[in-house]
């Protein structure tokens, strides 16, 4: 294929990330149901004041929720699948990260271009989005600065943070690397941050899917799956022919 829109590596790691992220999200929320209360510091339990509580029923009758019923316990398989998916996510991330450093994908496609690394450049692009101006032809084969910054934050800030805060919940890992949890300010802080970073990733996911829907959902899906897209020029040419 001549110049696919996305390389094989990007396409395969993208979909592995999607699958593991969705599995982690569903099982993570399922685990939260067993204790929908969040704390700050090292410790927290139902005898202590929470930082905040999610107003949902719980799968444990020891948690006061105000609901008159208890949800079924699904933590067994949820925890199994959560950690298995975490392995897929981490190994996929390592392959993607190392390969993208070596083949210049980060440098060429993800890091904002020289001259675009200003707040002004981001703002101009944002205004274009807000005014719902269609993207120019120059954008069809390259990410703009807002996309690049968003991807950069997700790849180098949010995913590392969600993995770090997740590892800080493992008593065995914390035994070997106590700094991981202590730097965050304690186990319950790590749990609360794990929850917040998850929502930051969900926010990205929602905006990402919305932008794809706006720019032609099936064409973009095709681009990320087969590597081929119907470009704006081709579409225009086809229309002229018709």
């Amino acid at each position: 294929m001549e110049n696919p829109r996305h390389s094989v590596l990007v396409r395969v790691t993208h979909w592995l990330t999607v699958i593991s992220f969705v599995a982690l999200l569903v099982t993570g929320l399922e685990i939260v149901i067993s204790h929908p209360r969040f704390y700050w510091g090292e410790t927290g339990n139902v005898n202590m004041k929470p930082l905040f509580t999610i107003p949902i029923p719980s799968s444990r009758n020891t948690v006061p929720t105000g609901y008159g019923y208890v949800m079924p316990d699904q933590n067994g398989w949820s925890r199994y699948l959560h950690f298995e998916s975490a392995w897929v996510l981490v190994l996929t991330g390592l392959v993607y990260g190392i390969a993208s450093l070596l083949n210049g994908h980060f440098r060429k496609n993800i890091v904002p271009e020289r001259g675009e690394r200003t707040l002004g450049a981001h703002w101009r692009r944002m205004v274009q989005y807000l005014r719902r101006r269609p993207p120019g032809l120059d954008e069809s084969d390259s990410y703009n600065v807002l996309q690049r910054t968003a991807y950069l934050v997700v790849i180098f800030v949010l995913f590392p943070l969600v993995i770090w805060t997740g590892l800080a919940l493992s008593p065995s890992f914390n035994a070997a690397f106590p700094l991981g949890v202590n730097l965050l300010g304690g186990r319950q802080t790590a749990r609360t941050l794990h929850f917040f970073v998850t929502w930051a990733l969900v926010l990205f996911f929602a905006v990402h899917v919305a932008m794809i829907a706006v720019s032609g959902f099936w064409n973009r899906m095709r681009g990320m799956t087969t590597g081929r897209t119907v470009s704006a020029e081709q579409t225009a040419a086809t229309k002229e022919l018709v």
């Binding site: 685990i31 939260v32 067993s34 204790h35 209360r37 090292e42 410790t43 927290g44 339990n45 139902v46 005898n47 202590m48 444990r60 009758n61 020891t62 933590n75 067994g76 398989w77 925890r79 199994y80 699948l81 950690f83 298995e84 998916s85 975490a86 392995w87 919940l169 493992s170 008593p171 065995s172 890992f173 914390n174 035994a175 070997a176 106590p178 949890v181 202590n182 186990r187 319950q188 749990r191």
Partner: protein, 241 residues
């Protein structure tokens, strides 16, 4: 026979190397105790990676201990099933007749009273109980390291797991020998300068502070050493994560 194309040669070479590599990795992992009892099924791959990684990276690590001022003022005693008749009878007698049996693959099977356990070297640790649900508390745990009792009993070298049983029906769990001999794995008799309250597992609880709370089974009456483990249950066997 048609000569193999270069691509087919490379592909089959890689496949053969992959199979051989996997077989070798499997053998090495088995030999070094990196395969958990729940290594089969849909979640087996993830579970094996988790267990192997923890055993390679954290085998001798010590659970975090906390300063005295971090002991939780309001620890939470998770609910347990109503006490069995057997438990109530022993409780009425002030647990004077409570026995802990050590058997299975040991040179000297033993039966210990709480007084016997109290006469052993007493240690204390201020560690966190971490529930898989998400909550936690810090307490001081007072007891005797399980490793000393295992030394007395003379655990046979072929033993690979310890199974431990609660007096409560159908409540047992198991750990590998790395956790069994770990200096922070306690036969716990006291908590926060007092007796271990019944709600927290008194009179005798096995504390495994490097794993989640569900491995710290309450009301222990029997520990047995074994070389095989048939895993059953809904929750992961290794609970270090």
């Amino acid at each position: 026979m048609k000569p193999m194309s270069r691509r087919a040669l490379i592909t089959s070479g890689l496949a053969a190397a992959g199979v051989a590599g996997f077989a070798a990795a499997n053998r090495i992992a088995g030999k070094h105790g990196l395969i958990p009892p729940d290594c089969r099924g849909v979640y087996g791959a993830g579970e094996t990676l988790t267990y192997a990684a923890h055993r390679l990276l954290t085998r001798d690590a010590m659970a975090r201990e906390f300063p005295r001022n971090m002991i939780s003022k309001n620890p939470f005693a998770n609910e347990v099933a109503p006490p069995s008749d057997q438990f109530k009878k022993l409780q009425a007698g002030g647990f004077g007749d409570w026995r802990l049996t050590i058997d299975g693959m040991v040179a000297h099977p033993m039966s210990l009273s709480l007084a016997d356990l109290r006469s052993l070297p007493t240690h204390s640790q201020i560690t966190e109980v971490v529930c898989e649900e998400g909550w936690s508390y810090v307490a001081e745990w007072i007891g005797t390291p399980l490793s000393g009792v295992l030394r007395e009993a003379g655990v046979l070298p072929q033993a690979r797991y310890l199974k431990y049983f609660s007096i409560q029906p159908e409540w047992s769990d198991s750990i590998d020998m790395a956790d069994a001999h770990h200096p922070q794995t306690f036969l716990t008799l006291g908590m926060n300068d007092g007796e271990l309250p019944v709600g927290f597992g008194g009179p005798l609880r096995l504390r495994v502070p490097r794993q989640l709370g569900y491995k710290s089974v309450k009301y222990i009456t029997r520990i047995t050493a074994t070389d095989s483990m048939k895993f059953q249950g809904d929750y992961a066997w290794f609970a270090g994560i």
